[in-house]
């Protein structure tokens, strides 16, 4: 039986009076890929941003309920969100590499932890780029600007940047939304490999993608968790009519 990494208990998210996430309870298991699916505005991105407290940066956001990361409530007073974000990484919808060199992008998370040893940085940058399946494409131009990379490469660079500080969980907010099918396929293959080492939670609009890569799928609708279970449960034997209609593409 796999360990529970994240345990979400009756979570509510409000923006002012808007109720974005309504009473969601679910668990995320270690070394699995959990996909969050649902139509636009269903609260799946808000839900994702709760888990590494990126929602703290949104003005007027309010959270109720509990999120336990390995048993510790991440919204407890003594929990440091900086420390938490170092253990729960995030990859965004639009690739957002810093306009620095490829090397400096991957080293960023280490340098802010005051790790400046040159040999250490070089080794960790190479290792992270290899884990993100980008090394072979960039090893001879590490000191060129990251902005010269293609969209798919930039997104893998953002994954390498997140991996460099050894997070336990990687949260991904529609990471393939702006990529072509070929770049998307590379990222999907990468995630398959990565889940042996880390836990992945991915928000996606793409039903086929969710089906291809997920162990578990959670279906959100208007802020509520309609249904969650194994990929097979949700796609082949959904319990709720709404889930069935959505996964078959009847609405979106």
């Amino acid at each position: 039986m796999k360990q529970i990494t994240l345990d979400i208990r009756s979570l509510h998210v409000y923006y002012d009076s808007f109720h974005a996430v309504n009473n969601v309870s679910m668990t995320i298991l270690e070394h699995t890929i959990t996909s969050i699916i649902g139509p636009s505005g269903c609260g799946k991105s808000s839900f994702l941003r709760v888990m590494n407290r990126m929602n703290d940066l949104v003005p007027h956001a309010r959270i109720m309920g509990e999120v336990l990361f390995r048993g510790a409530n991440i919204y407890a007073k003594d929990m440091c969100e900086i420390e938490l974000r170092r253990r729960i990484g995030m990859v965004f919808q639009k690739p957002n590499p810093f306009p620095f060199s490829i090397f400096d992008n991957v080293a960023f998370g280490l340098r802010i932890q005051k790790k400046h040893n040159k040999t250490f940085l070089r080794e960790r940058v190479e290792e992270s780029l290899r884990r993100a399946a980008l090394w072979d494409e960039v090893y001879d131009r590490l000191h060129q600007s990251a902005l010269e990379l293609s969209g798919g490469q930039q997104q893998r660079l953002c994954i390498a940047r997140a991996l460099a500080i050894y997070p336990d969980i990687l949260l991904m907010d529609e990471p393939c939304a702006s990529l072509d099918p070929k770049a998307t396929k590379r990222i999907e293959e990468l995630l398959e490999k990565l889940k042996e080492e880390i836990t992945i939670v991915i928000v996606t609009h793409n039903m086929q993608q969710a089906r291809r890569i997920s162990d578990y799928v959670a279906f959100f609708h208007t802020g509520e968790l309609v249904e969650w279970g194994t990929s097979e449960d949700i796609f082949d034997h959904p319990q709720k009519q709404l889930t069935k209609e959505y996964t078959q593409g009847l609405f979106g």
Partner: protein, 282 residues
């Protein structure tokens, strides 16, 4: 029909540009004509004098360079610090809104008012007297709003996506500012600083208001030394009746222009080298 209207518009725009260029170039030509022959080593290395042919601009040139440098040292850190606070930390409440409106207004206050403020505050209350320090503090106040506004604008252009990317890697607020926001906003901030300092170097009114002297036959040796500056010297020469002094004024204007241009060129070079370095390893 549409084409001829287009042509008319372009012609109008060109004419407008022509008026500006003509005025500027006729000014430049007159000044060069009057003053160029007066510029030599004697002019650059002499102190002011009652005899126009013996007078020079050494003390005012050095005074202007010290004054501008000191003004930059005071105004730039204060201005950037204020901008960082207002953009990154300040909450949107009535107090900060009031402050924002006031900074905008301050940028448009006539410089003589700053001169009077400097006279009251720095010269009288703080007893800096008519010193280099009093002049620099006054000019720093004068350009502070410009530096703040330009820096805020530059900081605002740094995308939130990048800042969130840094936060998601466990960066603290100050790390995000130091390592992401600041380096990316720096070229824009420097552009604002260049504009502001170009204004400071040519200001006359506030310096006259705080009582900067025109006859200074020595170089300032401390922050509290009396000083003079190029615009004051030029103003003084222009107001003399003898035509020979007017030649000196023209020569002084050329030196002021060249100083400003050199200063801007240096700042632009620094900015460009910073800009291209941001894509290389640190």
């Amino acid at each position: 029909m549409r084409k001829s209207a287009d042509r008319l518009f372009i012609a109008g725009a060109l004419a407008a540009l022509g008026v500006a260029l003509l005025t500027l170039s006729s000014l430049l030509v007159t000044v060069l004509f009057d003053g160029l022959s007066r510029i030599d080593m004697q002019f650059l290395t002499s102190f002011p004098s009652r005899k126009p042919e013996e007078a020079g601009i050494l003390s005012s040139l050095v005074g202007s360079i010290y004054l501008t440098g000191l003004t930059a040292l005071i105004a730039v850190p204060l201005g950037i610090g204020s901008a960082v606070y207002l953009e990154q930390y300040a909450k949107k409440n009535w107090f900060n809104l009031l402050m924002e409106i006031n900074i905008g207004t301050l940028a448009g206050v006539p410089s003589i008012i700053y001169g009077l403020l400097g006279l009251g505050l720095f010269v009288r209350i703080l007893h800096f007297d008519r010193s280099l320090l009093a002049g620099s503090c006054t000019l720093a106040l004068l350009i502070l709003p410009i530096v703040i506004l330009a820096s805020r604008e530059a900081i605002r252009t740094v995308s939130h996506d990048l800042q969130h990317g840094a936060f998601a890697l466990g960066a603290t607020e100050s790390q995000v500012i130091r390592r992401v926001v600041f380096p990316l906003a720096l070229p824009g901030i420097l552009t604002g600083v260049i504009l502001a300092l170009s204004r400071a170097i040519g200001e006359t009114a506030p310096l006259i208001a705080i009582g900067a002297l025109t006859y200074i036959a020595f170089l300032p040796d401390s922050l509290f030394a009396p000083f003079t500056a190029l615009p004051i010297q030029i103003f003084n020469w222009v107001s003399r009746p003898q035509p020979a002094f007017h030649e000196n004024a023209a020569a002084g204007i050329i030196i002021l222009l060249v100083t400003t241009l050199l200063f801007n060129a240096a700042a632009i070079l620094i900015r460009n080298s910073l800009y291209s370095r941001s894509a290389r390893p640190s």
